[in-house]
């Protein structure tokens, strides 16, 4: 099958829009007569009815709008219709009406043609973009390492964009312009052969010379495109690597690099402009040279009497119609060059072979066949891109139900085994079969469901954790979309017209059969199981507990959580560790909270993140003036600052210990040092508001168990508890909505789920308190049937682009969970959990092996690792060294 892209833009356009292009040509041709007739009418109106030409007597009549077929090569003409006989006023009305009619008809033609061209262009653009993405999805795997994603994106997004506008013009415009120019030239020829030939000669020079000059422009356009694409690749590298760049102080090198690239682009672009306007100048000159010849040459001929003056005037008049179309033609040709360059560039980048044939990725909604036998390697070798041997002469059979460990350090060949089974690399020699078939010949719709492959760097698209988990199951639209949201006939028609598939994005693409679940509840159960298996359940559970209650409470109402709070309090006070949690009590200072949290005694909406950064004149601070709280907090903040400046003053600003002491931003230490000096021995009343606010800000973030500066007195604690009420009373209405206060009988929508249920904070410094409270909380939520609701809230956690908001180990665990969820027939984990500690990995491995054996149908496992201790858990161990299998032991 020929899977190459058409390198010639015109053939590509012709291939996909032949019928539409011909139709436009026909419509353009049809629009011509009225177009030219409309030019003539104003003259007729002025000369006729208005100036009175032909209406010399009041009752004179004339025939208007005759239909005459003229013969341009002679005087004979054939009259079809003599015209209407009308008087002067009648003629004015008739001709004016005709003018209006032509205007409407011309306008309508223009509207129709432009709309048609626009739609045609947009369809072709859609088709091209779709084809390009489709090809990306079928690239051979090594190609993905070679290309830069942002460059591919730029090509699909920006570089093909001008093609849309051009495609509609591709055939009709030149045909129209050539017609116009040809007509004008023909008319000149008819008047005077000599002048016609001169015109033709100059035209020839123009049409040959200008494109030649423009060849250089095309080269520059090409360079401009390539450098711009490079630039976008580099910019995205800077964004992706910004953290490393800054941590290594490479920013100025990046600046130099960008400046260098911009310079190159500048000179290319400037050169481009110089050429462009030079070509324009030459072109204009040639266009004006022709009339010069007419005036001089034609004039001489006329004076000598060898050319009729009437003919010369007619030639000059006819020539007026020539430069317009010629200029437009040359412009069109330039646009053609430009888009052809872009198109060729893009096509070259996407013309990669071998592409996966489309049928290997066909949509399969039916269940796909199982692999029918073991993986059999016969003298298999593999090489990397540079031709270095990665694995040599491998003879091996792995049964589909076996659990096998492959051990070897990186580069020893163990990981190549996994990559071969996943088909990320192809054998350079030997055969690799899966049962009766060659593994390489299996379609992706089979391997992608039957073989599970987990690498150390799984990728996740931007979205929630739940979406990431389910992303492995999106094989086909298994269930129709909700009623009324299906694809409309227009949507389907346009998809067909642009060669796009008719897949419904809004359908439910989750393969429930693969999960082994038919309902949402069963799916939830499976998700919980799989997360527990990879040791990720607690993490998402914790995410769930940290979510604010205001973030969607679907699945469980507020009453349920309030109930959980009551039960938690009961159990906690009944047990031996009641002191694990310090409850929120309106009349008691809570030492687990910062001073500001103690005063506001509630939670803030997401709009207020750092209350201490509120401006000093904000009404939020009204409460400070009561009870001399400002003086007390100022004192505390000053003392804390003094200790911190004393201890850290000489510490470099990247000192990690400072992270624990987050009261003062390390970069501001010198400011505070100066501030301390300025306020030394100064009475509070004389300190400026700004300076006061700085120290009070430090005090408000103070948390005794965390910062351990031993600065709280009972007196201050009492004052803070008293301030709670004045804080509430003095809170201005516009801020009141951003605060919600702790109330034992109410859910606090801005507080986290955990704060809501505990209605207090876990006491810092009690060994095991976090675990004990966590267990109790878990137990209660389980009893109330709220566990999954919490987990689900956790699964709504936005994992960020590529899962970057998760730690590497969490990403690896999530990657494994995603594959386990779809129950592959054979699971390959290629160092997939290497960011986790050994003990956790061993626990996960035991769980997976257990599941492989006990679930129905079970599955085989190939576990690639460098840790021998993990390998001991498997029934069979393969050892690799220097690209060869060195031992194959089966243990019981």
């Amino acid at each position: 099958m020929n899977d190459r892209m058409e390198p010639n833009l015109f053939r590509y356009i012709w291939k996909h829009s032949r019928r539409q292009q011909i139709w436009i040509l026909i419509v353009v041709a049809l629009s011509m007569p009225t177009y030219f007739l409309a030019f003539d009418i104003p003259k007729q109106i002025v000369n006729g009815p208005i100036q009175g030409g032909g209406f010399e007597t009041p009752d004179a009549t004339q025939k208007v709008m005759p239909v005459v077929i003229g013969n341009p090569f002679g005087d004979q003409s054939f009259t079809l219709f003599e015209g209407f006989e009308v008087g002067r006023m009648g003629a004015l009305i008739a001709l004016s009406m005709a003018f209006l009619g032509y205007v409407i008809i011309n306008g309508w033609f223009k509207l129709y043609i432009n709309t048609y061209k626009g739609r045609l262009g947009e369809r072709m653009l859609r088709r091209l973009r779709y084809q390009l993405v489709d090809r990306v999805l079928r690239f051979p795997f090594p190609q993905y390492k070679r290309v830069r994603s942002s460059e591919i994106a730029t090509m699909i997004k920006d570089e093909v964009d001008p093609l849309g506008g051009f495609i509609g013009e591709a055939f009709a415009t030149p045909a129209f312009l050539v017609g116009q120019a040809g007509a004008a030239l023909l008319f000149i020829m008819l008047q005077s052969w000599a002048l016609g030939l001169v015109t033709l000669a100059i035209l020839m020079v123009q049409t040959i010379l200008i494109p030649k000059l423009r060849a250089r422009l095309r080269d520059l356009a090409l360079q401009r495109q390539l450098t711009a694409r490079d630039l976008s690749g580099r910019v995205s590298e800077i964004v992706d690597g910004a953290i490393d760049i800054r941590l290594n102080d490479n920013t100025n090198f990046e600046r130099a690099d960008i400046a260098d690239r911009l310079a190159k682009i500048f000179f290319i672009r400037f050169d481009f402009y110089q050429w462009k306007f030079m070509v324009k100048f030459i072109n204009n000159f040639l266009a004006q040279f022709t009339p010069f010849v007419f005036y001089l040459g034609g004039g001489i001929l006329a004076i000598r009497g060898s050319l009729d003056i009437g003919q010369l005037v007619a030639v000059i008049a006819a020539y007026k119609d020539l430069p317009g179309p010629i200029k437009e033609l040359i412009d069109w040709d330039y646009q053609r060059l430009d888009v052809q360059v872009k198109y060729t560039q893009v096509v070259n980048a996407f013309d990669v072979s071998p592409l996966a044939p489309p049928d290997t990725q066909a949509l399969q909604t039916e269940s796909v066949p199982l692999l029918d036998g073991p993986f059999v390697f016969r003298q298999v070798s593999a090489m990397d891109e540079s031709g270095k041997t990665l694995l040599e002469g491998l003879d091996l059979t792995i049964d589909l139900h076996e659990n096998v460990a492959a051990v070897g350090t990186a580069g020893d060949g163990a990981e190549v085994l996994g990559e071969l089974i996943a088909r990320l690399i192809m054998p350079s020699a030997g055969t690799l079969n899966a049962g009766s078939q060659s593994l390489t010949s299996l379609p992706e719709w089979e391997t992608g469901r039957r073989i599970g492959y987990v690498s150390a760097e799984p990728f996740f698209a931007h979205g929630t954790a739940r979406e990431a988990l389910l992303s492995g199951l999106r094989h086909a639209p298994f269930r129709p979309p909700p009623e009324g949201s299906g694809l409309t006939p227009l949507f389907l028609k346009e998809a067909t017209a642009s060669g796009n598939p008719q897949f419904d994005r809004r359908a439910d693409w989750v393969d429930y059969n693969a999960v082994g679940a038919q309902t949402e509840e069963e799916l939830a159960k499976r998700i919980t199981e799989v997360l527990a298996l990879v040791n990720l359940q607690e993490d998402f559970y914790a995410f769930g507990l940290r979510t604010k209650l205001s973030d969607a409470t679907e699945g469980a109402g507020e009453e349920m959580f309030l109930n959980a709070r009551r039960i938690f309090l009961e159990r906690l006070t009944e047990g031996d560790n009641a002191a694990d949690v310090e409850p929120f009590v309106l009349t008691q200072f809570n030492s687990q909270l910062t001073l500001f949290q103690n005063i506001s005694f509630g939670a803030t909406s997401t709009r207020i993140t750092v209350p201490s950064e509120f401006p000093a004149d904000s009404p939020l601070w009204a409460f400070l003036t009561e009870d001399e709280l400002d003086r007390k907090l100022y004192q505390l903040g000053r003392e804390a600052s003094a200790v911190i400046v004393d201890l850290f003053g000489e510490v470099s600003d990247n000192m990690k210990i400072l992270e624990r002491l987050d009261l003062i931003d390390p970069v501001k230490l010198p400011d505070y040092s100066a501030l301390l000096g300025r306020t030394e021995g100064v009475d509070f009343a004389s300190v400026s508001t700004d300076d006061r606010r700085k120290f009070i800000g430090v005090a408000l973030n103070y948390n005794e168990p965390r910062h351990r500066l031993d600065l709280l007195s009972d007196d201050l604690r009492d004052a803070i508890v008293r301030a709670r009420m004045s804080f509430r009373e003095r809170l201005p209405p516009e801020l009141a909505a951003e605060f919600s206060f702790h109330d034992p009988d109410e859910i606090n929508p801005y507080a986290s789920l955990q704060d809501n249920i505990l209605f207090g904070r876990i006491v810092d410094g009690r060994a095991g308190a976090v675990d004990r409270v966590g267990t109790l909380l878990r137990q209660i939520l389980e009893e109330l049937g709220l566990s999954y609701a919490v987990l689900e809230r956790g699964l709504k956690y936005e994992i960020g682009s590529g899962g970057r908001r998760l730690s590497l180990s969490q990403r690896q665990q999530l990657g494994l969970a995603r594959v386990l969820l779809r129950r592959p027939q054979f699971l390959v984990v290629n160092r997939g959990l290497n960011a986790l500690d050994n003990r956790t990995v061993e626990r996960v491995v035991r769980g997976i092996l257990d599941m492989a054996k006990s679930s129905s149908p079970g599955f085989g496992v190939l576990w690639i690792t460098s840790a021998e201790s993990q390998a001991q858990l498997f029934g069979r161990t393969l050892k690799f060294a220097r690209g060869a299998l060195i031992s194959d032991e089966t243990t019981q």
Partner: protein, 151 residues
């Protein structure tokens, strides 16, 4: 439980004996007080360790698994340190330490300690000196044991 108090406590630990008090205050700031109830384990043999504990009050038993069962090998009191090796190198805990009474400790995190060493090379030198002294002592004890075994 003030900073001063904790800094003094650290100064009594052999490993930090020579470190300047100002630096110990920093370490104290980075550390935290942790309470263990009687019967709770401070650490469990075989677990990975990320922290050391200095006993502030209360007592704890050090137990080791042997072929015949669990043997108590030592009782720790105020100012004794538990798991100091864990903050210097990656290794599983070599013993289980269980609180006999309620125990108050000062917890030193491995990362905090390493950060301190990175920031202040002179602290590293002093810690090395303590370790070298300990090594010298262990070596001479070993030599004594060997000669005793030969005799």
């Amino acid at each position: 439980m003030s900073l001063e108090e904790d800094a003094l406590l650290l100064a009594k630990v052999e490993l930090f004996a020579n470190v300047a008090p100002r630096r110990l205050k920093l370490l104290a700031l980075a550390s935290s007080r942790v309470l263990f109830a009687a019967g709770q384990d401070l650490c469990v043999e075989g677990d990975e360790g990320y922290e050391a504990f200095i006993l502030v009050s209360g007592e704890a038993d050090v137990k080791i698994k042997t072929l015949t069962g669990v043997a108590t090998v030592a009782r720790l009191k105020r100012n004794d340190i538990v798991g100091e090796m864990a903050i210097l190198r990656d290794m599983p805990r070599t013993a289980t330490v269980t609180a006999v009474s309620d125990v108050s400790t000062l917890r030193i995190g491995k990362q905090d300690f390493l950060n301190l060493l990175k920031e202040f090379p002179e602290v590293t030198v002093e810690v090395m000196r303590s370790l070298a002294e300990r090594l010298a002592r262990t070596t001479s004890e070993l030599a004594n044991l060997r000669s005793a075994a030969k005799a």
